[in-house]
């Protein structure tokens, strides 16, 4: 099994006519994702000509696309100045899952979006994230599908390529993944580690979880607290930025040690105290998971 996305997912792509939107829609379809609609304001009704996209209807608004196609998830390939609006449009149309890939959305825009989403049933993944994939079933986002393998390890990460690295290490050892989610590198994120751990806790198809954090904020500490209290599946964690200097933004808008807080060390201590295996080398993630799975009682 998996969480949030699977064979039942009917995907809508906002910004489908853009270069990135077109490219990644083709990749998603090739992976087997059921893409049911595209949305680009002003281009409703046009026929897509890109290879493989010919049958996907394009609408002017998300509301119309949902009404006509029953889309139940959307992915946004929308430039940063318009991304907040696009998230709210999907929420307004009642799309239960919105995945926002866009990097560079102003913090204040996201503060408003997040406040608005608390009054809606929509879950936002991202922004500034690679997306979400349930291997073998559904891929939403920009991650390379080929490195994944269907299985029972959940992966949650604030990063993109570092997630691919971890997934690669798993797949290399024959360990498949139930669902892999990039929650994004921004200081305001739609979905947290803890939100997803709660879903993995309930998913019978997930036996263990890899948590990849990085410097900045305290989302890892909050997750550690939750895991210590009630999460019973094995967790392996890695925190990037052990060598990052304080006060500098390390690429991601949210990856910064400020006022002495948000260091990798603090997070590693909190996770370790919660009984989680924290690897200090990013090369040890796959091996640690393999060990934890091997030492588990066979039946679940």
């Amino acid at each position: 099994m998996s969480i949030l996305v699977g064979r039942e997912t009917r995907l809508l792509v906002a910004g489908i006519t853009g270069r990135e939107g077109t490219f990644h829609t083709r990749q998603a379809i090739a992976y087997g994702t059921n893409v049911v609609a595209g949305v680009t304001p002003g281009k409703g009704g046009i026929a897509l000509t890109a290879d493989g996209l010919e049958k996907i209807p394009v609408f002017d608004t998300v509301a119309e696309a949902v009404e006509k196609t029953d889309a139940n998830a959307s992915v946004l390939f929308v430039p940063p100045p318009f991304a907040a609006d696009a998230i709210l449009e999907s929420a307004d149309a009642g799309v239960p899952l919105v995945v926002c890939i866009t990097e560079g959305i102003p913090i204040l825009d996201m503060v408003r979006v997040k406040a608005a989403l608390t009054r809606s049933a929509t879950r936002l993944i991202g922004p500034n994230c690679p997306g979400i994939i349930s291997p073998g079933k559904c891929k939403i986002g920009i991650m390379p599908g080929s490195i994944h393998r269907e299985g029972s390890v959940g992966v949650i990460s604030r990063s993109g390529t570092l997630t691919y690295e971890a997934v690669f290490q798993l797949t290399e050892r024959g360990i498949g993944q139930s669902t892999c989610i990039g929650i994004g590198g921004d200081p305001v994120a739609g979905t947290s580690f803890t939100d997803l751990l709660e879903l993995f806790a309930r998913d019978p198809g997930t036996d263990a979880v890899v948590l990849i954090g990085e410097i900045g904020g305290a989302a890892e500490e909050t997750a550690a607290d939750y895991i210590r209290r009630e999460f019973r599946k094995p967790v392996v964690a890695f925190i990037a930025g052990q060598t990052a200097p304080p006060g500098r933004r390390m690429g991601h808008a949210g990856a910064i040690i400020s006022g002495g807080h948000g260091t990798a060390k603090e997070k590693m201590v909190a996770l370790t105290a919660a009984g989680i295996e924290v690897v200090s080398s990013p090369a040890d993630i796959g091996e640690a998971v393999a060990r934890r799975l091997a030492s588990r009682p066979a039946a679940r």
């Binding site: 913090i107 503060v111 690669f168 060598t243 090369a283």
Partner: protein
């Protein structure tokens, strides 16, 4: 990640840091009371400014680092601290002077000096601008600031009765002294919340009106300028009954700079690392560090993890460099050139996990750049992901002396060995 970069609208933006006097000017525009003052670039201008401001003034060095008051000014020629006649302590970055003559003398010592503070690192910063301000008769100092509370995803207004001290320090040592009010974006920062803060930190009753207006003005300034952090530290009450921002700091949200093109002009290139400035021109995310192993990686998380594994292998990273998720051959070449122009770099590790970015494209970029730069320093390449076989092939057939590594650990070990080898 990709969507922002690929279409060029989000792009890689450059963090804009500003000086105290610029932050004060922005706050003043929104109604925050600041001391009367002038920015000067030469000693005689300091004299004139002091005369206009009434003689007794404060001279403040303008650099992009805190801790100036307790910092030490160093003579640019001798490299020694600048002594002050009849005083035990050398000259710092902030100085109260009696009159215009002294203003000129102190300005002549500060301008061009190397000011070292707790935040500048051992190399310090060269002082090129001074702020000359009226000296106030201070009754008491406070702290007020606005930052994002990441756990709440809301801006929070913070204040403390302990002014002049870093808020993080107060939070550790005397958390009860801090008042916090989270602000819901649909509601805004309301007068009642400002009053709670003003009373909470013990602003005298006669001045709560002035303090609450200042807090509201600070909030408006933060919101309208898309600041990710705005601090007034200290905020002071004066003997003549005013509430004034004695010092100010604003950090802009880099992601919102497209809404504020005017702020780009506030950038002071003298305060930035030249290699970082160069990298920003090509949309590269580069941060210079002090080690000897240069690294080039795609993706911020993987770039940090690569620095970490270099350290674990016994080396020190020379930089953080994220070429992005969809870098072109040209970008790879520029990234390579920039990281090699750091003379401390003794060996280079290229770690690319090709997802969207194909390994063959990266390999072509590396080969092109290595040829162009006539690199003599050892290069270790680790490629994985899309088209990895073709990428490795290109590297192998390039005729260049590249070490191909398998996996991050192998790569880190090889590059650290290479870096220490060439150092010997």
């Amino acid at each position: 990640m990709a969507a922002g970069r690929g279409n060029g609208t989000g792009a890689r933006r450059r963090s804009v840091k500003i000086h105290e006097y610029q932050a004060k000017a922005i706050l003043a525009n929104f109604g925050v009371t600041i001391p009367r003052g002038e920015v000067v670039l030469a000693p005689d201008e300091a004299r004139e400014a002091a005369r206009r401001l009434g003689g007794r003034v404060v001279i403040k060095a303008q650099i992009h680092a805190g801790g100036r008051g307790k910092g030490v000014a160093h003579d640019p020629r001798t490299g020694n601290p600048i002594p002050l006649p009849g005083e035990a302590k050398p000259l710092g970055g902030v100085r109260v002077v009696r009159d215009a003559d002294e203003a000129e003398r102190i300005a002549s010592l500060l301008l061009g000096c190397r000011l070292k503070t707790i935040q500048t690192g051992p190399e310090g910063r060269v002082v090129k601008r001074l702020l000359v301000e009226e000296a106030l008769d201070i009754e008491k100092e406070y702290y007020v600031g606005i930052a994002l509370d990441r756990a709440l995803s809301l801006p929070v207004v913070m204040a403390s009765s302990e002014g002049g001290v870093e808020i993080e320090k107060v939070a550790l040592e005397n958390p009860a002294a801090i008042r916090r009010e989270a602000v819901h974006p649909a509601v805004g920062f309301r007068p009642y919340a400002a009053r709670k803060i003003a009373y909470g930190i013990g602003i005298p009753r006669a001045l709560t009106g002035a303090a609450t207006s200042l807090l509201s003005a600070l909030y408006t300034a933060t919101e309208r300028s898309d600041a990710s952090l705005a601090e007034i530290n200290p905020l002071v009450t004066t003997r003549d009954g005013r509430v004034v921002a004695l010092d100010a700091k604003i950090n802009f949200d880099d992601n919102a700079l497209h809404r504020h093109p005017e702020y780009r002009e506030l950038r002071d290139l003298d305060e930035e690392d030249p290699l970082e400035v160069e990298a920003s021109k090509f949309g590269l995310n580069y941060i210079k560090l002090s080690g000897s192993v240069g690294c080039m990686v795609n993706g911020a998380g993987l770039a940090m993890a690569t620095m970490d594994i270099i350290k674990l292998a016994g080396g020190e990273p020379a930089n953080f460099l994220d070429v992005g998720g969809g870098a072109t051959t040209e970008q790879v070449a520029n990234a390579f050139r920039i990281l090699l122009s750091d003379p401390n770099v003794r060996a280079v590790l290229i770690n690319i996990f090709g997802g969207i970015m194909r390994c063959d494209v990266v390999a072509e970029g590396v080969v092109a750049a290595a040829r162009q730069e006539r690199v003599s320093r050892p290069i270790v390449v680790r490629l994985e992901g899309t088209n990895v076989e073709r990428g490795r092939e290109i590297l192998k057939n390039s005729g260049l002396r590249l070490t191909v590594a398998k996996g991050m650990e192998d790569a880190a070990r090889k590059v650290v060995a290479a870096a220490s080898g060439s150092a010997a």
